[in-house]
Amino acid sequence: MSPGATAKESSNSNPLPQEKRTALRIFWGQLRGNGRNNWDADKIKFLKKIPFFENLRRKQLEEVATLVYERDYEENEYIFEVSQPGAALFIVQYGEVSVEIPRDDEEPTQLAVVGKHQFVGELALLDEAPRSASARALGKTKVFALFRKDLDRLSETHPDITSHIYRALAIIVGNRLKATNELIDKKLKLVG
């Protein structure tokens, strides 16, 4: 069965039209005092797809959503530059970001291109060490920024949320270390 058919079936089984259901959802949402609207719901849905937050429950995601900042970047605009103090993690909402190391009088060395649902600058969540590379928007790009200090504060009030985030971060960093080790091993074998 196609997804379109499922949607059609479910809308037929529900006697209320779509607009009325949306209005009711907003009304009950407001009445619950969550101050949540469609945009917030989309933001939460988006965050759920990011590895850091995939194990969080909806209520927990709502807490995280209040912390993230939304930023828009033009083409070739730098999100951060190498050697700057790291303060935030950036999650790409749409567009593409080039992770690169600038060279003197040369084209920068591109390490990776990061797209939707991917992120850059995750090590800034651990400490204030300078950025090891620059991140540049390759076109019109929208990102969510999550700051280390906000996460630190969240650890004091909601340690259950941050334990999930830090665990996910540890797994990501561990996988990257494994990949780097494998790469070094391959290179060594090639040289040998």
């Binding site: 005092g33 209040t66 900042y69 530059e81 700057q84 303060a87 700051f147």
Partner: protein, 428 residues
């Protein structure tokens, strides 16, 4: 080529738009601030108080919901303000007590000075008087002059002597002080005691109070509407989940985004630590002074008021304890019925006890309170604080007095963080 020109033209339009828009916003904000200036103090005070109470809402561990906690804080705050205000208001001297206090101070200051200098019973003065008399005489005369009752106050005092406004008549002893003061001023006591004059002035006083009542109501309504913003700003800022900061961060250009966030965070951290720490320190100093003075034999009301003054002014380095010492010493001059828990303290050596209490409090403040509650949050030189507080009060009155220290802290942290930041982020 055409594309480059288009881009250049677009950039120019953007600059023009942002400049025009910022100017309009700036003028509008200035106009609003000027138009709504009576509401400014309640708004800023409410926000400031909410900022101070914020950690109580966000603390960890309690299963109670955030809104319930916020409601609890508001309830506790309102109750504390009401009962605390009532206690302080009740402790403050009434119209009658103020008059008696002035008479007592004037009488006892002259008496103590005369006894100290050996001028009693027609004496010509002791050795101290011979050396210091010439310099001290005009100072004491000026101090006594400032305590002199005005003609209206004299009439009111005499009314209270006979029992006025359902109050107990003033004690005979204080009336004698009054007569003695008058004699010293060579005033015509008999003329002031004439019943007719007194009753005319009593009617005058009552009439003027009646006319004042109408304008008082309008004043109260105006005060209520102006201060309505206080609880509103308090509640909204207390419950804010960072939306205000998020709103302002939106207008920050991308290049300065992380830098501005770091500055805001550092200011918040430093300001919070410093202000909350200073407030707790003031409270502890005020409490220590109050307990010390009470144990020394001062009346509870008096100990509370002097402790309150000392605690409130303690935010200004050295000034708080100095003021408490001056006020305490001034009271010890007129104190008559001293019943201390410590048997060796009486009316004659109360001043020494006051000085000892102030010294112990000052030591406690330096050795325990400050390191414990303020720590090394922000290191501000005491001279900067003193100049800032006095300068602030001279320029902006009461508001300047309250917000001088927070402004100094914010300015210091912003300059420090911003200067380091713009270098680290390679803006300069």
């Amino acid at each position: 080529m055409l594309l480059a020109e288009q881009q250049k033209s677009r950039k120019l339009r953007r600059v023009l738009f942002y400049t025009g828009f910022s100017t309009v916003i700036f003028i509008t904000v200035l106009g609003l601030l000027y138009g709504l200036r009576p509401m400014l103090l309640p708004f800023v005070l409410g926000s400031f108080l909410a900022y101070l109470c914020k950690p109580l809402v966000t603390f960890r561990g309690s299963p109670v919901k955030k809104y319930m906690r916020a409601g609890g804080i508001i309830l506790i705050l309102v109750t504390t303000i009401y009962w605390g205000g009532k206690l302080v208001r009740d402790s403050l001297p009434s119209e009658k007590e103020k008059l008696v206090l002035k008479v007592r101070l004037q009488y006892r200051a002259s008496e103590r000075y005369a006894a100290l200098m050996g001028l009693t019973a027609g004496g010509k003065g002791n050795l101290a008087y011979k050396f210091l008399g010439q310099d001290l005489d005009p100072i004491v005369a000026k101090a006594v002059e400032s305590l002199k009752l005005s003609d209206d106050e004299k009439q009111l005092f005499l009314l209270y002597v006979g029992g006025y406004k359902n109050e107990e008549p003033i004690q005979e002893k204080y009336y004698d002080y009054y007569l003695s003061n008058i004699k010293a001023q060579k005033a015509d006591v008999e003329k002031m005691k004439q019943t007719n004059q007194a009753s005319i002035s009593a009617a005058g006083v009552a009439k003027s109070e009646g006319t004042a009542e109408g304008s008082n109501l309008a004043e109260k309504i105006h005060l209520f509407t102006t201060w309505l913003i206080f609880p509103l700003s308090f509640a909204f800022i207390l419950l804010d989940k960072g939306q205000i900061v998020h709103f302002f961060m939106r207008i920050v250009p991308n290049r300065y985004f992380e830098l501005v966030y770091s500055v805001v965070e550092n200011v918040d951290e430093a300001l919070g630590k410093y202000i909350r720490g200073t407030l707790i320190e003031c409270l502890l100093v005020g409490l220590s002074l109050m307990i010390g003075f009470y144990v020394s034999g001062m009346e509870f009301k008096v100990a509370l008021i002097i402790g309150l003054i000392g605690g409130l002014t303690n935010a200004i380095p050295f000034v708080g304890t100095f003021i408490a010492c001056i006020v305490g010493a001034a009271y010890s001059l007129i104190a008559e019925d001293v019943h201390s828990i410590l048997p060796f303290i009486d009316a004659n050596n109360l001043m020494i006890a006051v000085i000892v209490v102030v010294m112990i409090t000052h030591l406690l403040d330096n050795a325990v309170f400050q390191p414990l509650v303020v720590g090394s949050a922000v290191n501000i030189h005491p001279l900067v604080v003193i100049v800032g507080v006095f300068g602030g009060s001279m320029m902006f009155g009461f508001a300047g007095l309250i917000f001088a220290i927070p402004t100094i802290v914010v300015t210091k942290v912003v300059i420090e963080t911003f200067y380091t930041g713009i270098k680290e982020y390679r803006i300069i």
